[in-house]
């Protein structure tokens, strides 16, 4: 099969999944007695609208998409190395906790401070991701279950840390002290939190894209993920390649956590976990494990979440949970993609027949 054909099929199935997901979600809106067209208009206006430099949903969507790009990328790297890890949430939390701790308790000059904090957060995420990867590769322990348990552990650990060692004051919700000004990441425009983290995320996408496509270790990782015995026979140290992938994956999720603390919240508080890791996993699934597509999908999902919160809940009193419902419905259609593949195939055959071309596509 030609490479371009595979690529086109993937794009087509993803687009069809999005369309089908939006249509079905429109039915949920209609069931609540509201006008689905108006609701979608409000949703997209709130999520992607641009009124002025200081008042727009688009910049906020970009800001929200930053951590989704990185956790999505983390999921892509894990899945490419053949580990279906759902641990991005936990790695993200560990990165965030470390950033909140080092950002406020260590004092360093500008530039060096955030760089050091980010490096430590990435290391924390990497170690956290290494454990389920190692257990899978060496002992065959189901990585989905271990990474889920490690997510739980991260939430509990963070809750403990924020309530006891890092607690700043006796306020009603436990939170840490604000990170030093030297550690904070700059924002692009006053009034929005969209800032340098976004650039870091895009840089990470570019690096991972090149790493996977153009370098020998990246090739070893992909082959080990796709066909482990083949890789081993070919002389690739596959266990090492897979574990390397898990380290990179965790580092990316840890980076997302660091950016969220240094660039957006500036402190960590009880209940900080917001499902960003899980949304990142959804991003990776819809993006069909392509680093470039992750950017587009992450911005799209971030816009839906924001639009559901502001556009639907605030101005049409439709519960904001619909945002997550739309995303889940789209992913359900991605899971059932063979449904579309059948359509595409018969459509293509009919098209060929109409044009008078013999046989199927060139394999």
């Amino acid at each position: 099969m030609k490479r371009s054909a595979v690529w086109k099929d993937r794009l087509l199935t993803s687009v069809l999944a999005v369309v089908a997901g939006l249509v079905v979600s429109g039915a949920y809106i209609a069931l609540t007695g509201k006008d689905p067209f108006k609701a979608y208009f409000e949703l997209f206006k709130a999520g992607f609208g641009f009124e002025s430099l200081t008042r727009n949903g688009l910049f906020q969507t970009f800001q929200l998409s930053t951590s989704l790009i990185l956790t999505g990328l983390a999921a892509v790297v894990a899945m490419k190395s053949g580990i279906f890890s759902i641990g991005q949430e936990g790695q993200y939390l560990m990165g965030a906790t470390v950033a909140a701790w080092l950002g406020s308790s260590v004092h360093l000059p500008y530039v060096i401070h955030p760089a050091a904090v980010i490096a430590c957060s990435m290391a924390a995420g990497a170690i956290y991701s290494f454990i389920p990867g190692w257990l899978k590769v060496k002992l065959g322990v189901n990585e989905i279950i271990t990474s889920f348990l490690m997510n739980n552990m991260a939430v509990l650990l963070m809750t403990y840390i924020v309530n006891f060692p890092l607690r700043a004051d006796k306020g009603s919700t436990a939170h840490s002290a604000i990170v030093d000004e030297t550690a904070q990441l700059p924002v692009f425009f006053q009034g929005s939190k969209w800032g340098a983290g976004f650039i870091l995320a895009l840089a990470a996408v570019a690096i991972i894209h090149i790493y996977l496509k153009r370098t020998a270790p990246g090739y070893a990782l992909r082959i080990s993920g796709e066909a482990l015995p083949f890789a081993s026979y070919g002389g690739i140290r596959s266990a090492r390649a897979v574990l390397c992938g898990m380290l990179i994956s965790g580092a990316l999720a840890g980076l997302a956590g660091a950016i969220e603390i240094l660039g957006v919240y500036r402190r960590i508080m009880q209940g900080f976990s917001t499902g960003v890791g899980f949304d990142g996993l959804m991003v990776a699934i819809l993006a069909k494990n392509s680093p470039i597509a992750v950017v587009v999908v992450a911005i799209f999902f971030a816009g839906i979440r924001l639009g559901a919160q502001i556009g639907l809940q605030a101005s049409m009193s439709i519960p904001r949970e619909l945002g997550g419902g739309i995303i889940a419905t789209i992913i359900l259609f991605v899971a059932a993609e063979s449904l579309f593949l059948g359509f595409i195939e018969t459509g293509r055959l009919k098209w060929r027949k109409a044009l008078g071309v013999e046989g199927g596509r060139g394999e």
């Binding site: 949920y28 609540t32 279906f84 759902i86 257990l135 002992l139 065959g140 322990v141 189901n142 989905i144 279950i145 271990t146 889920f148 348990l149 490690m150 739980n152 552990m153 509990l156 650990l157 809750t159 403990y160 309530n163 006891f164 899980f278 996993l281 959804m282 699934i285 519960p319 949970e321 619909l322 945002g323 997550g324 419902g325 995303i327 889940a328 419905t329 992913i331 359900l332 991605v334 899971a335 059932a336 063979s338 449904l339």
Partner: protein, 328 residues
């Protein structure tokens, strides 16, 4: 510490183990039938939600529980249909379903009852606690085993029933065969689809029943994400119990005990509850490692035994061969 381990703790253990035991039995069935059912969490949450809503609308808690169970079973059937008809990726499907149910139960709650995170109605009756005849009057055993609701006793009966079905019936033999090797099972004419359908539908109903225990058996209210990962813990408990009904029962009791202990310690000591709840997770991972080591060890010894038998056989063969030759 002396007053921590009491009858109360034992009863709390049994109560908290139930919503783990039910999805664990479901996980055991699907493991045995060779389908990884990661949607248990969602099935549980759906069961919890529909049970309490149906109990409210139908004015009967038992009917509500049945509706919840039916919904879980139907979801299992839907799961099977997509898997069979469209060759759906079950892991992705399950993860999407879990998110879908988590978000849409809150969506429905807000749309139907205008409520934010938690919902309850005074007209909803909690499942009554049953007094076991005869046993209730026995000292020590009576206070420990009597006075739980029907779901608790049902889960115990299910353990016994699944033990008998799996190891004493033809169907159980088929189910285990499918999990061992689907291709081999197919080759001897076992209806693999039927076995998988059974595992998914029964599993869905059991997980949903576990959810119903949370919403109408334990609390009489529905809270956003009330299952709180118990479906996943159930999956781990199934593996921890080596997929044997009795093992699964004991594993669930261990998890329930850890939960009960966390609550108790929080109430009686200064130990932070988040740390107490942290350790069962570590424990689960260690248990999974243990399970993996056992499987690895089993494989190793099987290989060792096979080699020994093989070399003994070849030695015997060689002897016989040389003996025959010399006789000629």
């Amino acid at each position: 510490m002396g007053d921590v381990f009491t009858l109360d703790l034992a009863r709390a253990t049994i109560r908290l183990a139930t919503p783990i035991l039910l999805p664990a039995l479901a996980g055991m069935l699907s493991d045995r039938a060779g389908v990884l059912n990661l949607a248990l969490e969602g099935m549980m949450l759906l069961g919890a939600f529909l049970s309490i809503v149906a109990a409210f609308w139908l004015k009967s808690t038992y009917l509500g529980v049945l509706v919840g169970m039916a919904s879980g079973g139907l979801l299992g059937a839907f799961f099977f249909y997509l898997y069979k008809r469209y060759k759906v990726d079950l892991v992705v499907l399950a993860i999407a379903l879990n998110l879908f149910i988590q978000e849409m139960t809150v969506f429905a709650l807000r749309t139907l009852f205008g409520n934010v995170g938690s919902w309850s109605d005074p007209s909803i009756r909690q499942l009554p606690e049953l007094r076991l005849p005869l046993i209730a009057d026995v000292p020590v055993v009576g206070p420990l085993l009597s006075g739980y609701n029907a779901i608790v006793y049902f889960s115990w009966l299910a353990v016994v029933a699944f033990h008998l079905v799996l190891f004493r019936t033809r169907f159980g033999r088929h189910l285990r065969a499918v999990g061992e090797s689907q291709a081999a099972a197919e080759a001897v004419g076992i209806d693999v689809s039927r076995v998988k359908l059974f595992a998914l539908v029964m599993g869905g109903a059991l997980a949903a029943l576990g959810g119903a225990f949370l919403s109408v058996g334990h609390l009489t209210s529905f809270t956003r994400n009330i299952s709180n990962g118990r479906g996943w813990i159930g999956l781990s408990a199934a593996l921890f119990g080596f997929d044997y009904p009795v093992g699964v029962f004991l594993a669930s009791m261990v998890f329930g005990g850890a939960d009960a202990l966390a609550i108790k310690l929080q109430a009686t000591t200064q130990i932070p509850s988040s740390l107490v709840q942290f350790f069962p997770n570590v424990f689960t991972i260690l248990a999974l490692v243990l399970v993996a080591l056992r499987i690895r060890g089993g494989e190793y010894f099987a290989r060792l035994g096979f080699r020994r038998r093989l070399s003994a056989e070849t030695a015997a063969e060689a002897k016989r061969g040389s003996g025959r030759e010399s006789g000629r």
